[in-house]
């Protein structure tokens, strides 16, 4: 049953009322019910692109924060890729000191409004939460991400963010390639030291996957724009429509254009396909194409947008990660009658965020587990008519530790679809490697970097995010961007001394 934000707020208010005069004991904290995230009604939201999760109300965030046991050993922090002081900011949130809570987060994280929305918390901080362990249910861990999101939104909406201090100009210049979370973080930290920073982005809008991949209903683009505006306010110059490797090479940027160091955050922009017959039929899309049309090109705004969206009735989505969920839920919103996520393993192995899987289910997305595609069939006009599938069972765990699917001979079947979206992941875009001498990559095409500094095998060139990690996460990209910037700041300082 869908519960409205008002009802949830009232329940939270009652809880707060109980502890108005005395702080709850640990036992009482553990008994406070986990606060449910208010969300748009599924019936409504499949007809719009607006954000699904509406965010806690102030009472809810305080009630949820009261659940935190303030563990002395702070196990949640070990699950956070950027080591945010989680209990400290939650303690402030519980008192209603949201601006102070935001400050604490900002000591470690640059993009909390984004990470609060898209981090896979159940595999990170919340996985280690004592409360979840006590209650033997990870869904009952303190909702760290939701509190983080509230606090970050509060700081943005109430303009109580501190504009990062920019040191006096050093005269040194750094180029930042790409404008995703890795690059945004690197650019901010480089600029803070007073270096001149120019960010080069290939597309006509900055933000990377946050803008072209992750849909509006999960991450409002206004939030990403706000982060980019902050960068600009700090003096970072953003050059759009600039494909490093083609418009200029890295060697030109460093040799001719006077950049003293380069950070590459070019992401994992190379869609993987299934390599099965029929993959080029009309109506087969990579998730990147499908999502880019909808998000970057605004094709969901049918009638206004000049980029068309394929008209689909029956959609098959292959994959089990966030990319698959985003594709399926976008297809639903664009009017597809049935949307089926087809995954080779079972729900338990799906790498997507739990919340997205739940949201997709509520929106009517269907799941077909333990099935693998063999061939995509077409009608006589070359348009997708269906997919030949084979059933699988789970075999032994593979290198990733997940049990790998084994095809069951003789279980082939054909299912009718008119659209197929391939959402099985992304590999590294080879463009920069191909146009830059001296950057070594591993067999997946990921840049090889020094783990401490994120420096590539080409001196002065650093890299982070998906181009190094393979398709990973926003928070990891941010963490690497910051790590690289730290090393680059040291590199630039040393270079400056030599020059002086």
């Amino acid at each position: 049953m869908h519960v409205s934000s008002e009802e949830l707020d009232k329940l939270a208010g009652d809880i707060l009322g109980r502890f108005e005069n005395a702080a709850p004991s640990p036992k009482e904290r553990a008994q406070i019910p986990a606060q449910e995230m208010p969300a748009q009604d599924p019936v409504e939201r499949v007809r719009n692109m607006r954000e699904v999760a509406l965010g806690y109300t102030p009472s809810q965030v305080r009630a949820e924060s009261l659940r935190c046991l303030q563990c002395r050993n702070k196990p949640c922090i070990q699950g956070c890729p950027v080591s945010i002081d989680i209990p400290a900011f939650i303690a402030e949130a519980a008192k209603g000191n949201f601006a102070r809570a935001a400050e604490i987060i900002n000591e470690s994280s640059l993009l909390p409004a984004i990470c609060g929305r898209v981090c896979p918390q159940e595999n990170q901080c919340q996985k280690y939460c004592t409360l979840g362990k006590m209650l033997k249910d990870i869904d009952k861990s303190v909702a760290i991400g939701r509190i983080e999101r509230f606090v970050a939104d509060y700081a943005r909406e109430n303009r109580c963010e501190k504009v990062p201090h920019v040191a006096a100009e050093t005269g040194m210049r750094a180029a930042v390639v790409g404008s995703g979370p890795a690059s945004i973080s690197a650019a901010a930290d480089l600029r803070r030291e007073g270096h001149g920073v120019v960010m080069f982005e290939a597309l006509h809008k900055a933000g990377g996957v946050l803008v072209y991949g992750i849909p509006e209903f999960r991450l409002p683009k206004a939030i990403v724009r706000h982060e980019l505006d902050n960068l600009k306010a700090m003096g970072v110059q953003i050059r759009l429509n600039f494909l490093v490797g083609k418009t200029r090479r890295i060697s030109d940027l460093m040799g001719k254009d006077g950049f003293d160091a380069v950070f590459v955050g070019s992401g994992a922009g190379l869609p993987k396909f299934l390599n099965i017959p029929g993959e080029n039929h009309v109506g087969v899309f990579s998730a990147n194409e499908y999502l880019t049309r909808s998000n970057l090109m605004k094709a969901y705004d049918i009638g206004a947008a000049r980029t068309p969206m394929f008209a689909s009735r029956r959609v098959a989505v292959f994959g089990g990660g966030n990319v698959a969920m985003d594709s399926a839920r976008t297809a639903k919103r664009l009017g597809a009658g049935t949307v089926t996520v087809i995954y080779r393993r079972t729900g338990a192995e799906m790498p997507a965020r739990k919340e997205e899987v739940a949201h997709a289910g509520e929106e009517g997305v269907e799941f077909m587990f333990l099935h693998a595609p063999l061939e995509i069939t077409a009608d006589d006009r070359g348009r997708v008519s269906g997919v030949k599938l084979i059933e699988c069972r789970l075999g032994e765990p593979d290198a990733s530790g997940r049990r790998s699917p084994v095809e069951i001979p003789g279980s082939e079947k054909h299912c009718a679809y008119d659209t197929v979206i391939v959402a099985i992941g992304n590999a590294s875009n080879p463009l920069i490697k191909a146009t830059t001498e001296g950057i070594d990559v591993n067999r997946h095409g990921n840049f090889i970097v020094n783990e401490e500094t994120c420096e590539t095998t080409l001196p002065g060139v650093y890299a982070g995010g998906d181009i190094v990690l393979g398709a990973a996460t926003v928070i990891q990209a941010m963490g690497q961007g910051r790590k690289a910037a730290k090393a680059m700041n040291a590199y630039l300082a040393a270079k400056r001394q030599v020059r002086a």
Partner: protein, 282 residues
């Protein structure tokens, strides 16, 4: 940035503009293209082949036909206006080498991107013959420029209103028979390129075509531009745009170009490259 500094009308629907783009002008090579987007949220990204460039003047030349909504909007821009988003140079340059004898075949607006290639081939020491075709006289473009670089120019029109009344494939076959080119470069509507490749196949002459599939990013990120070449999937924006015409799966490519026909008809959406013409235009 990206200010239009010159604009001419080459035929009823075809325009040539010179746009300030210093980095692209310096980096581009024949065969490469740009992607433009006219600003705002809802405009589409359209690929246009770079027809020429002047590194000294820091400009590139684009030739386009106003066929859909976006190209009409582009045509509405005048000297002094800017193209808000211009990305390039994209794709791999043409393999310009000394082959000996090179036949360049251009259909309709395909003559524009063919021009720098003909010029490059000539400068590389090849003997160059050009076949250019269009539906009718008014749609023949850049004949004088071509005559200035080529050793011979053969003009054909569908309706016979100018030059020979023929499709480009007729003189192409004759050249294959009599002149025996070592390499053929064909650029034009997909159907024309398909038949040009079919025409040269029996003679085993290397035939380069420049594909104009549907594109979005142009950086290899979306895969929307993919085609099957020699049984393998290639991304036109990064692996191409030029491929061996004898290896391209033309029927699949042409079907994929029609992916959005229903929407185009319904909502007047257009999603196409520069060279999409009515069939039989060349």
């Amino acid at each position: 940035m990206n200010r239009i500094v010159r604009k001419e009308k080459l035929s009823a629907e075809v325009f040539r503009i010179a746009v300030e783009a210093p980095e692209i002008a310096a980096a581009r090579k024949p065969g490469q293209f740009v992607i433009i987007q006219l600003g705002g949220d809802v405009n589409e990204r359209i690929p246009l082949t770079i027809a020429d460039a002047d590194a000294g003047a820091k400009t590139i030349t684009l030739v386009f036909q106003a066929v859909g909504e976006s190209t009409h909007r582009l045509a509405a821009l005048g000297v002094g206006d800017s193209i808000e988003n211009l990305l390039g140079p994209l794709g791999r340059p043409t393999d310009i080498e000394k082959y000996g004898k090179v036949a360049c075949v251009g259909g309709g607006i395909g003559v524009a991107p063919l021009y720098p290639i003909a010029q490059g081939m000539k400068n590389a020491g090849n003997e160059v013959k050009v076949i250019m075709g269009a539906r009718s006289r008014g749609l023949i473009i850049m004949e004088a420029e071509m005559r200035a670089v080529a050793d011979d120019v053969i003009v054909v029109t569908d309706d016979g209103s100018y030059g020979r009344k023929a499709l480009v494939t007729a003189p192409l076959k004759e050249l294959c028979e009599q002149w025996r080119p070592d390499c053929v470069v064909a650029i034009g509507p997909p159907v024309m390129m398909k038949f040009a490749a079919l025409a040269t196949k029996p003679y085993g002459i290397r035939t380069i075509v420049s594909l104009n599939t549907i594109m979005i990013d142009g950086t290899g990120m979306c895969g929307g531009c993919r085609v099957s070449v020699g049984g393998r999937t290639k991304f036109v924006c990064v692996d191409g745009p030029e491929f061996d015409g004898h290896q391209v799966d033309w029927d699949n490519m042409i079907l994929r170009l029609g992916s959005y026909k229903p929407q185009e008809q319904e909502a007047h959406h257009r999603c196409h490259g520069l060279m999409k013409l009515n069939e039989g235009e060349a």
